[in-house]
Structure formats: structure tokens, C-alpha cells
Symmetry: C2
Subunit: 312 residues, 2 copies
């Protein structure tokens, strides 16, 4: 060891992995996207890209997905992962109770795991990769404030089981915080939860709210902002300033049509790529990993959207 120090010896990783011939298996547990255009396809693209690059090193992947509206599916799939005994796990811990159970069992098996998109604090994760949701809400607040001369604001959660959607709550808090600390705030804020858009009644509910409360700005706390685009287009409502999240195809359409002014984004493909990379660096290369890795809070408009392509 002394001589190693003196000579500053660095092992040759190429030779090492070539000789060892060992293979490594990672598992992912992420929400199943409702469609091929859904948000959760994006982290997955990044995951696959990094896995492909690392296939030379014998890195393999097995994917599991759960239904965002069904916490039991999370539990069922996590059991399957435990049976598989992978060398590392990437998960979106959407359901806190089920996730904690899973994490405990991973701990017993000494399997490292990385959180993506949302976080449970101090749960023994190797790393968290995702946005600071409060701050991202604050950015949304500032932007909407800058472009809204007058009128009131509606915050909309298109989500079921809000108890489990901590990052949406945090975004809302950050958003409200902006207006709370602002001097002479002329805007009044309201919040609505729309758990289900199957039944088109929600449209009437929102339209009524817009009229009654002089709503001139809308903030949708997740990627379902295209719902508002559709509403504004079909009911021919103009002069509404709208901010939402994530550059998915349906949102891009309404951004281009000027029904949505800003989308807040978080480089989901890069997140998936980095999640696998963290596992690789820790499990295969035995390096130290930084625990928190807040993604940037990206601001997308009609004009820069086409340049916001990852991995060109």
C-alpha cells in the first residue's frame, strides 16, 4: 500500500472489467406512462441510453412499473424486485408507506438504491436526482407575476391521492410563497384539485371559477397542463397566462399555439441517465457518490422549445 501511494498507482479499469467478466443487474421501479407520449417515457430513454453504453461492462437492466393510481401495484412490483436480488435499484418513491417497506428490505439485502423525481429524506438512498420542488414553484410564481398585469390566479392539481404527491404540494407552496413575500401583491390566489378528467364536468367547474373570480393566470402543478390548453381552445378563452410543467408532446402543442406561456422542465432523460450512472459509479467503480443532485429548473417558451432536446 505504501508503494501504491508512492507511485500513485491507478488500476486500469479496462483490464479489470475485461478480466473479471462479472455482470451487474440493475432494476428500475417507475410509474407506467399512460401513453407513448407520457412523461415517464423520458427518464426511461435516459436509462436505456446509459445501459446501452455500459453493456460493454456487463451492465444489465430489468424494468418494473407501477400504476400511479394504485399503491398496491407498487408493493407487488417491489416484491418481484426483491426476489430478483439485483445489484442496485432506481425508483420513484411515490407511495411513502410502500416505499419505506421496500427500502427496509433492500437495506437487509444490502442493495443500494437511487431516488428519482421525488424524494424521501434520509432513507438511506445512495442519491436523489430531481428538482427542488419548492424552488421550482417559486420560479413559476415569479414568471407568472412578471407577465400578469392584473387579475387573479388559479393553481390546479390534476392528481389523485394528493397525500402521496408531496412534490406537487411543494410546488404549490413555493408558488404561494412568491406572492406572499411580494410587495403590494395585486393578485388573489385560489387552488383546485381535479382528481379525474375522465368526466368532462371538470371543465365547467374551472370555467365557472375563471369567470366568478376574475382568473387571469393559471398554474398547473404537473405535466397535465394540456388539459387547460384544450379547455381554453375549445371555449375560446383568450388573454389567460398559463404555466405548467414538462415538455411532453401534448404540452408543446399548446405552447406553440400560445395557450401556454411557460413550461417548467427538469431534463427527465438526463435524470434517468444520471440515475443509472450513479449506480454504476458506486456499484461497479466503487466510487463515492454525492447524495443530492438537484436538477436545474429550466424555463421553456415557444421560442426555445425546439432546442430543448436532450441527447442530440
Amino acid at each position: 500500500m505504501e508503494i501504491i501511494g508512492e507511485l500513485n498507482y491507478q488500476p486500469n479499469i479496462l483490464a479489470s472489467t475485461l478480466a473479471s467478466k462479472k455482470s451487474v443487474l440493475f432494476a428500475t421501479l417507475l410509474p407506467e406512462p399512460p401513453s407513448a407520449e407520457g412523461y415517464w417515457n423520458k427518464p426511461f430513454i435516459g436509462i436505456q441510453k446509459r445501459i446501452a453504453e455500459l453493456s460493454q461492462y456487463g451492465v444489465q437492466i430489468q424494468t418494473f412499473s407501477f400504476n400511479q393510481a394504485d399503491s398496491k401495484s407498487f408493493a407487488t412490483e417491489s416484491k418481484r424486485i426483491l426476489e430478483l436480488q439485483p445489484d442496485g435499484v432506481v425508483m420513484a418513491p411515490f407511495f411513502k408507506k410502500e416505499a419505506m417497506q421496500f427500502i427496509e428490505e433492500l437495506g437487509e439485502l444490502n442493495i443500494p438504491f437511487v431516488f428519482i423525481d421525488s424524494e424521501i429524506k434520509d432513507a438511506g438512498q445512495l442519491s436523489y436526482i430531481g428538482q427542488d420542488s419548492f424552488q421550482s414553484g417559486l420560479v413559476s410564481g415569479k414568471l407568472l407575476d412578471m407577465i400578469l398585469p392584473a387579475g387573479n390566479i388559479l393553481v390546479i392539481h390534476f392528481a389523485k391521492e394528493m397525500d402521496n404527491q408531496n412534490h406537487l404540494i411543494q410546488r404549490e407552496k413555493g408558488f404561494y410563497h412568491w406572492f406572499a413575500k411580494r410587495e403590494n401583491n395585486p393578485h388573489t390566489l385560489f387552488t383546485i384539485e381535479i382528481p379525474d378528467t375522465e368526466d368532462p364536468k371538470w371543465m365547467d367547474q374551472i370555467s365557472k371559477k375563471i369567470e366568478e373570480d376574475n382568473i387571469k393566470g393559471i398554474f398547473v402543478t404537473n405535466s397535465r397542463v394540456f388539459n387547460i390548453g384544450r379547455l381554453l381552445e375549445t371555449r375560446n378563452i383568450k388573454d389567460m397566462m398559463v404555466i405548467g410543467h414538462d415538455l411532453i408532446k401534448e404540452n408543446l402543442e399548446y405552447l406553440k399555439k400560445d395557450f401556454v406561456q411557460f413550461l417548467i422542465c427538469q431534463r427527465p432523460e438526463e435524470q434517468g441517465y444520471n440515475a443509472i450512472n450513479k449506480l454504476f459509479r458506486s456499484v461497479v467503480q466503487k466510487r463515492k457518490i454525492e447524495e443530492e443532485n438537484y436538477t436545474s429548473i429550466d424555463i421553456i417558451t415557444k421560442e426555445n422549445a425546439d432546442y430543448y432536446k436532450e441527447f442530440k
Copy 2:
């Protein structure tokens, strides 16, 4: 070859590079940053990061830099690179004439090269990595327009030898284009060139312009927007909306103090990283490379600036 096709044989790159023991040398020719906080340190950080990762593969680098105000230094350094006969070159082709001469000689030696930051079209480059400057100017125009209720706008180039600064011209053109196509544009636009800030007379010139022409918005076409921050602070000018480029330390200060509203950024570290990666993928891995790689046009405000750190 038939059997290779049938078996879908993929050579093992690890074994290949381990056995071949060949080393590869890349050269970079970039502007020398005026200080440790200058913009051009950033691409260099990315370059070094990728070189460090690839040192296992026997990739080495030799760096050359030129003075942005002196086209001769570009020519001198490019000659030194030609003598070195590297396996690939990354350059910022700031001086078109000198760059074309250099490129021709690189072509004769069959040395591939990548452009970074600014581009010469169809010059035989392996790839270009940088922003679409026209579009980035358009984004600046839209943002300033959104937050500026009334008053006129001043575009400032802090640059010498404007003939060689094609990307600044393009940014200006994009910016003007936004207001040209806008309906009922209430803002009049002016442009000023400040070749030198050593002599503080430029401050009087700008101040006078601001007063005489009712300037309420300023767009600085490069990273020298901190000059305007200083001017506004020292002369106590409020209510000016300011947009500039690049998140360097001096600009961050005035963003935080609310003298600058937006910075347009282009992930310079990522650009450096990608430039080396393109050379590596082409020269060492013999893969096909995409020719254009426009960087995203990132919008930075006081609130998301702290999260805009690359390579965390």
C-alpha cells in the same frame, strides 16, 4: 463478413483498446479568458472532465489559446498545432480568415476538427457545438418584450472587431426580428457598440442615451452585461429591464441584486465536454457523428440560477 453479420458480432472495445495501447492526442484552440471568472474557463472545465474520464483510453490533450482582440495570435497558435500533428482539434473559429487558412491545412493533414461556440458553415467540420444565435436573440427579444410595459430599448455590443463577431450580429438580428414581426410594437430599438471599457467615458455615453431616448430596456449581446449592472448601480438607475448572456460570477451578482432580469445561457461546460466526446467517438471509436448539435437556449433568473450548475 457474412458470419459476422449472421452472428451480429460486436467487437469488445475494452479488449481492443487494452490490446492496442495506442494513445491519441487532441488539441484545443480557444480564447484565453481575461480572468479566472471569465466565460472561457467554462468550456475548458468540460473539456478537462471528459479528458480525465478518457485518460484510461490513452486520450491526451494539449491546449492552445489566443487573444480575442488579436487575430495574429490565432494564426501563430494554429501553426503550433499543425507542427504538433494531433489526432483531432477543438476550436472556436473567431477569426474567419485565419480559421479558414488553418482548416485548409488541417484538411491536408487529414486531421478532424470540431467547432465550438461559433461556426463556419460547410468548412468540413466533424461537428458544431453551440447555440443558434439568431434564435437566442429572438428569445431575448420575447422575454424583454414580455416584461417591458413601455419605453425604448438599447442593444449593446461590448466587443472589438465586430466584423469577426458573427454570433453577436446574429443575436442582434434575432432580437430585432422579434420586434419587427410583433403587432403594434410600442418600443423603438437602438444599437450601440462599445469596443473598449477601459476608458470610463462609455458610461457617460450610455447614460446620455438612456435619458435622451427614454430607454427602459437593455439587451447586451454577450457576457459583458455586468458592465451595465455596474453602471445602473453606481448611477442609481432603477426600473431598467436588462437581459444579457452567460452565468459568469460577475453577472450572477447583478442578477441577484435585481439589476439584471434574465441571462441567456448555453451550458458551456457541457459544450466543452461534448466537443471532446465527439472527437473521441469519431477518432477512437470510429462512429458516425451528427454534424450539428445546437445547444439549448437556457433562461436564467435570480430564482433558478443556483440550480444551473453543470456536473454536480
